[in-house]
Homo-oligomer: 341 residues x 2
DNA sequence: GTTAGCACTCTCCACCATAGAGTGCTAACC
DNA sequence: GGTTAGCACTCTATGGTGGAGAGTGCTAAC
């Protein structure tokens, strides 16, 4: 029974055509005849794990079938050692900056699984201010550059309606005050420290105003969901035969553009702590009904967390995908550890 | 003759079906009968401006036909005042940071022209170092943050194989030296100034090593082609009926992924100084043969230049596209001027 | 519980006929 | 000479038909 479901799924995953009882007995050592297989297939269909495109066609797995498969039957296939080595090598080659790692992760996942690879940068929970810089643009505007201890850099334009025009030396003084008081602080503590600034001194009053903006930027960053999802290899997915009709193809594409939903998924994966799988109709958005996602978090819970994973047709090799995603997330763990140690 | 070509193109652009002589006399005041139109159509076809999908079908423009049209017949249709106002309003709304402008430009172009909108950030010619920051990551690694006067921020990881472990105070001292010597310098001048650093002093020697890296990063940035092309609204293009077959659809998609070629085009547009149009087969890459681009530079020649434009099917409304692209590039000009004034 | 046999159903493909759109050509017209 | 009406011709698109083939579900026997 499970053996047959497994055989159907694995056959369908490779051939992409509905699989009949005959093909099963020919290609798998099931030890029974096609007639027996047929009755079992009928049973699996009654349980909602398989369907029929039409009467005289073979069976294809339903989303429920895949769900049962990944939970009870499939074992993660670990990535072959050779490829593990190759990937490690690639990560070693790349410019040693976390900015590049998550992109490389997506690219790697894409080429290893022949699906679309997804990855987000590692995002800290409560960011710490590292350094504040102010650069004059003109007499009333300045560029605020905010470096966070966790590696992210935020930039904002500030308009200062001061009575007198602002020059760079003033800005430097303001920045010095802010750096002294806010360095290594979270948004909350930074806010408290701003309260001690006096309003009757021009520079201090400017510093307070800029400081409030800084806190706002940090807060926005803390509060923001992981929004930046980098993807690569969408073309792999588009080549799958199930997307031969152009409307389905369009749907896949708009699925990947659906950053809102991806962001939401990424959020729950980050919370879950291990590989999560979302299959076809389990995704609410209609665009997503034809695709599955295999996602895993990486990083250090409570400090910085990101997500890597793949997006492919529901007919994907889940065992392989899980193994590969698991490996890449582990690798990213190591890298983050190395960086934050 | 030109009136007929114009009618064919404008009709085809709106209907997306081959246009016959009868349809032309019905819908356009040409003052002649369908028979006359037919003979003119035959002539236009002999000149290579029109084709036939098959004998009993109407005419469709060739890429040459479009080329002739945009050069000799079409006038740019300026964007209606209402929409100009709306767009200005949107640009006013957005967080006042150039980072967001070019994305908004792409989005705006996409929705206005119902094609894919493209935009690159404004890239300076010879970047000036504004500020250098060093943040310790661990005993051997530091994060280099480099703020350029032109607004860009570059980040790199540095590994310092110093004899003794590196701490943040040391890095601060190094950064102070570098800021003092390199601020407001271009890569070339910065390099010269580094030469005066002495090797026998530990901090100065570190500063020299970091400084060399800084110069390298700035050089890389100066030398890089405009590489970051942001695009939006690809879905608009994918909905065009000419991309109903999924292989064509895939090609459009991979066209937009073809960053190398886009970068190259962007480069020549930046040099050209005005709206440039690339129609279908005029693009070398096969992926690009079904699409046209209307691109325009923005910014200040010699200081900072970026590109905005649209990518759509060859069957696009060039007049409208040119008008819209021209308006948006003009708007971006104003914004850049305002910022760099 | 398993199996062989068989009728049945449905898709896929090739083939064909027809309607319709649009052309090119010719001969007449101003 | 340019323009026009008329007409035969060509090609596509559409829809219907009829096997061939795949695969099922059922039944009866083991």
């Amino acid at each position: 029974m499970q053996a047959i479901l497994r055989a159907v799924i694995e056959e369908y995953v490779t051939t992409a055509t509905p699989v009949g009882s005959q093909a099963l007995v020919e290609r798998y050592q099931l030890g029974v005849s096609s007639a027996t297989v047929r009755s079992i297939l009928a049973e699996l269909e009654a349980n909602g794990l398989l369907t029929h495109p039409h009467t005289s066609a073979g069976r294809i797995p339903t989303d429920q079938g895949y769900r049962f498969y990944v939970e009870s039957i499939a074992e993660a296939v670990p990535l072959p050692a050779v490829e593990q080595l190759m990937i490690r090598h690639q990560f070693g080659q790349v410019e040693f900056a976390s900015e590049h790692w998550f992109r490389l992760a997506a690219t790697t996942l894409a080429s290893m699984t022949r699906s679309a690879g997804l990855a987000t940068p590692a995002k800290p929970r409560d960011a710490h201010i590292r350094r504040i810089d102010l650069v004059a643009i003109n007499e009333r505007m300045a560029s605020l550059i905010l470096v966070l201890r966790e590696g992210a850099i935020k930039q904002a334009l500030i308009t200062l309606d001061a009575d007198e025009p602002i020059d760079q030396p003033t800005l430097n003084a303001v920045a010095a005050i802010l750096n002294e008081r806010l360095a290594n602080q979270t948004a909350m503590r930074a806010e408290a420290r701003l309260a001690t600034l006096r309003d009757d001194d021009r520079v201090q009053s400017l510093a307070r105003r800029v400081g409030e903006r800084v806190v706002k930027v940090v807060r926005a960053y803390d509060g923001a969901a992981i929004e930046e999802v980098f993807s690569d290899g969408l073309l792999n997915v588009m080549e799958a035969p199930e997307f031969a009709q152009s409307d389905k193809l369009r749907r896949v594409f708009s699925a990947l553009e659906n950053r809102a939903y991806l962001g939401q998924l990424v959020g729950s994966v980050a919370g879950a702590g291990r590989v999560q799988i979302y299959i076809g109709h389990e995704n609410q958005p209609l665009d997503m009904r034809d695709v599955s996602l295999v996602l895993a978090p990486y990083g250090r819970p409570g400090r910085a967390i990101g997500v890597v994973g793949v997006l492919g047709p529901t007919r994907m090799s889940y065992s392989q995908a899980i193994g590969t995603v698991r490996f890449v997330s582990g690798l990213m763990n190591e890298l983050v550890d190395h960086l934050y140690a």
